[in-house]
């Protein structure tokens, strides 16, 4: 196809003249874009050395025999991300006001906001899905003996994640502030307060005052949308760092064929 004559670029915008031996000038746009992409990546990498980490993360080997049960952890992670995204949208409309504002804002989200009920439903049912997935993932690691040496620490972090996930479920239950939410949380709070040693203090802290009400709601809200999600995100980071560093277990039934030519040096 004949091309239109293009005016020459001003000297200031021209690159260095082609070196001898290089084809001159006419680079296809796709090549130019690729070149630019590589340049940007190189620029960032030169200053961060991230490509090594990315390679470490993405091109590590997963052991022979890895099967679908190993996707349960990342599925939990995905459910958490879904909760985070839908939660951000809910937080745009929710008001933690025990004097009726909270109830009204939930009604507003459900009945008036575009796709409001859908997003609320995703957050509500996503919570159940995440709880189920955490338990399934835990059952997988338990049954495969994945908590044993050298992954003990990752199991411990996992248990903290389990507790935090349940705390999310508990604190989130109050937020719609209807009859069910209110009374279930009163009971949960009373039960907490009967605990030994720290129980009464924890109960007081959660209730945030002599009466269950306005301050309780805003305290639960900040725990539910700031404190615990932050902790969960940080701990997932630690969890995944250890997963990458130690590698995931092979299924316990996987036979190891030791062939003499495959010695440790190769590994």
């Amino acid at each position: 196809m004949p091309r239109l004559p293009t005016p020459k670029l001003p000297a200031a915008l021209q690159g260095p003249p082609p070196r001898p031996g290089e084809e001159n000038g006419n680079v296809a746009p796709a090549d130019a874009a690729k070149e630019a992409g590589i340049t940007v990546v190189d620029w960032v990498d030169e200053r961060t050395s991230l490509s090594g980490a990315a390679r470490w993360l993405m091109f590590r080997k997963i052991p022979k025999g890895t099967n679908w049960y190993y996707t349960l952890g990342s599925a939990t992670l995905f459910a958490f991300l879904s909760q985070a995204v839908t939660g951000v949208f809910l937080a745009m409309y929710y008001r933690p006001d025990a004097g009726g504002g909270a109830y009204e804002s939930i009604r507003h989200i459900t009945d008036q906001v575009f796709l409001g009920q859908f997003v609320r439903g995703m957050h509500l049912w996503g919570a159940s899905v995440m709880v189920v997935l955490v338990f399934l993932h835990m059952a997988r690691t338990f049954l495969f003996g994945a908590y044993k040496y050298p992954r003990e620490l990752n199991w411990v972090i996992g248990v903290v994640l389990l507790i935090l996930t349940l705390v999310m479920a508990l604190t989130g239950y109050l937020l719609p502030f209807d009859q069910r939410a209110y009374w279930a949380t009163v009971v949960a709070n009373n039960i907490t307060a009967t605990g030994p040693l720290i129980g009464p203090y924890l109960g007081d802290f959660l209730r945030a005052g002599p009466e269950f009400g306005a301050t309780t709601l805003s305290r639960f809200y900040s725990i539910h949308m700031l404190v615990v999600p932050g902790l969960i995100a940080a701990l997932i980071g630690a969890h995944l760092y250890l997963v990458t560093k130690l590698g995931t277990t092979a299924p316990p039934w996987q036979k190891v064929e030791t062939r003499p030519e495959l010695n440790e040096a190769e590994v």
Binding site: Q117, A127, V129, Y149, L162, D178, A184, A188, T194
Partner: protein
């Protein structure tokens, strides 16, 4: 695990890992497929089940009996099953705390190098027992009816009789449901199993007169219901007298 076992494990693991495939793209594809499934499930549940909203909270009500979300049903049921007051603390705080401590410390007391489930009998039996108990408690918690309603179906003979009999039966059912009997008695699926006897078939044990006498002059700890308005009292007795 002793040192030799640890080294053995690392060596075997190294071999399996060397023979494995790279995370990208093999595991990433599986994880991605799973993520799509999770998203599809969440979206379907949201579309089908929606998100409702109950009535506004009423901090002064005394008859509302709260229910937690389903994943806490097993705790809720534990609380209902464990009757003596002295033990409720054990049920609500003790059992979950001990469970969590046992989970935390698991890698530190189970130190055998064996990983195949069929060679870990204690671990597997514990797993089955714990999962079974939680499933059972969750199921029962889910089916423990609402404590201010009686879900007993109206018997066919009363529906046939119709008219005043049916009306009185339904009225009596409502009175019994709302007078707090279920706090101490079980009627069908609803109510607590103690301290009072199960009333599902009370009329096979007691004639109407005896039921009425019990309501007026009960044995402690059952309170007397002689102050119920006469028509409600009559309906309640008529209802109880049909429980056979």
């Amino acid at each position: 695990m002793n040192r030799r076992e640890k080294e053995q494990y690392l060596r075997d693991y190294g071999i399996l890992k060397a023979k494995g495939k790279p995370f990208f793209p093999y595991a990433v594809t599986k994880d991605g497929a799973m993520a799509c499934v999770v998203l599809a499930v969440i979206i379907t549940m949201s579309l089908v089940l929606g998100a409702g909203q109950g009535p506004k909270p009423n901090p002064t009500t005394t008859s509302y009996v709260p229910r937690p979300d389903w994943y806490f049903f097993f705790l809720f049921e534990l609380l209902r099953v464990v009757k003596p007051d002295s033990l409720t603390q054990l049920a609500t705080i003790g059992i979950p705390t001990l469970g969590m401590i046992a989970l935390f410390l698991l890698p530190f007391y189970d130190r055998s190098p064996e990983r195949r489930p069929e060679h870990r009998p204690i671990a597997m039996v514990t797993f089955v027992v714990v999962v079974g108990a939680m499933a059972l408690l969750t199921y029962q918690g889910a089916h423990a009816g609402d404590p201010t309603t009686i879900s007993l179906p109206t018997p066919q003979r009363i529906v046939k009789a119709g008219g005043a009999t049916l009306a009185e039966y339904e009225a009596g059912k409502a009175v019994v449901a709302q007078s707090g009997c279920l706090a101490c008695h079980k009627i069908g699926e609803n109510g607590n199993g103690g301290p009072g006897p199960n009333l599902t078939r009370v009329a096979t044990r007691l004639p109407a007169g005896a039921i009425a006498r019990t309501l007026v002059n009960p044995t402690a700890p059952m309170p007397s219901f002689r102050n119920l308005p006469p028509n409600k009292f009559k309906a309640a007795v008529a209802f109880l007298n049909q429980l056979k």
